[in-house]
Amino acid sequence: MTLALALLIGVLFTVALYLMMRRNLVKVLIGLIILSNAINLFIFTLGRLVRGRPPLIPAGETALQPPYADPLPQALILTAIVISFGVTAFAVALMRQAYQVLGTSDLNELRDTDIQPRYHPDHYHAEDEAEGH
């Protein structure tokens, strides 16, 4: 089981990083979402997998009997999910707004803040809008 999950995590990380290196903003966004899921699975797997032993103290006893599933990684994942939910929602809104204002979703076109500013900032050409690649 651990091996299967490890392979899955590897595949997810690969896909996520590949997508994040694409020029299209939407693909980058999907990459980010997959990345956060890959990490959640990563935390889950690193917390050791124990099947069928929830960390609940049975009636009449006072302590947990090992082996039991570690609840902490799940708490961490829950927190990470909440955070990535917020971040993803913001990223979607930002990318949408950016697409509307800048008129492109191609990262290669977004070079204006990297280079020396020109004398007249209004030099965008909406017709230069490029598809993915």
């Binding site: 909440v82 929602a89 979607v92 949408r96």
Partner: protein, 137 residues
């Protein structure tokens, strides 16, 4: 925006109260069983979002009456006060304090429940604010 779907609108009208009641149920049982303020808040916002999909954003805003932003502020304030409450009785910050006598419907009452109520409101406010903003333009 496509036309209004009568089926969805009717279903939403019946589902909404159910979802709200369910969200409160989740909130109240959340301390020791499955549920809690976060899930409750999500379910409650789903109720409003369902209405929003059926009737439009403005209708949903009118229905909610209170701005999502104020929901967040109120929720945070309640959560913060539940955490500070422990100071009043001279215990470390955020110590969970329970009232000895369980109430009829609510069950055991204490600062963790109050905290959950705060989370419920804050989550509902945040989710609705995000979705209203995304749906609006």
């Amino acid at each position: 925006m496509r036309g209004r779907s009568e089926i969805l609108a009717t279903a939403a009208r019946y589902l909404m109260p159910l979802l709200i009641v369910f969200s409160v149920f989740l909130l109240l049982r959340g301390h020791n069983e499955i549920g809690g303020g976060f899930v409750g808040g999500l379910v409650a916002s789903v109720a409003v979002v369902l209405y929003m999909i059926a009737e439009g954003v403005q209708a949903a805003r009118d229905l909610l009456k209170i701005e999502p932003r104020l929901l967040i502020a109120t929720g945070l304030l309640i959560a913060l006060s539940s955490a500070v409450f422990a100071w009043v009785v001279n215990r470390p910050f955020m110590t969970g304090l329970w009232w000895k006598y369980p109430l009829p419907v609510l069950g055991k009452v204490g600062t963790p429940l109050l905290f959950d109520v705060g989370v419920y409101l804050a989550v509902m406010g945040t989710t609705l604010m995000i979705l209203f903003t995304l749906a609006e333009d």
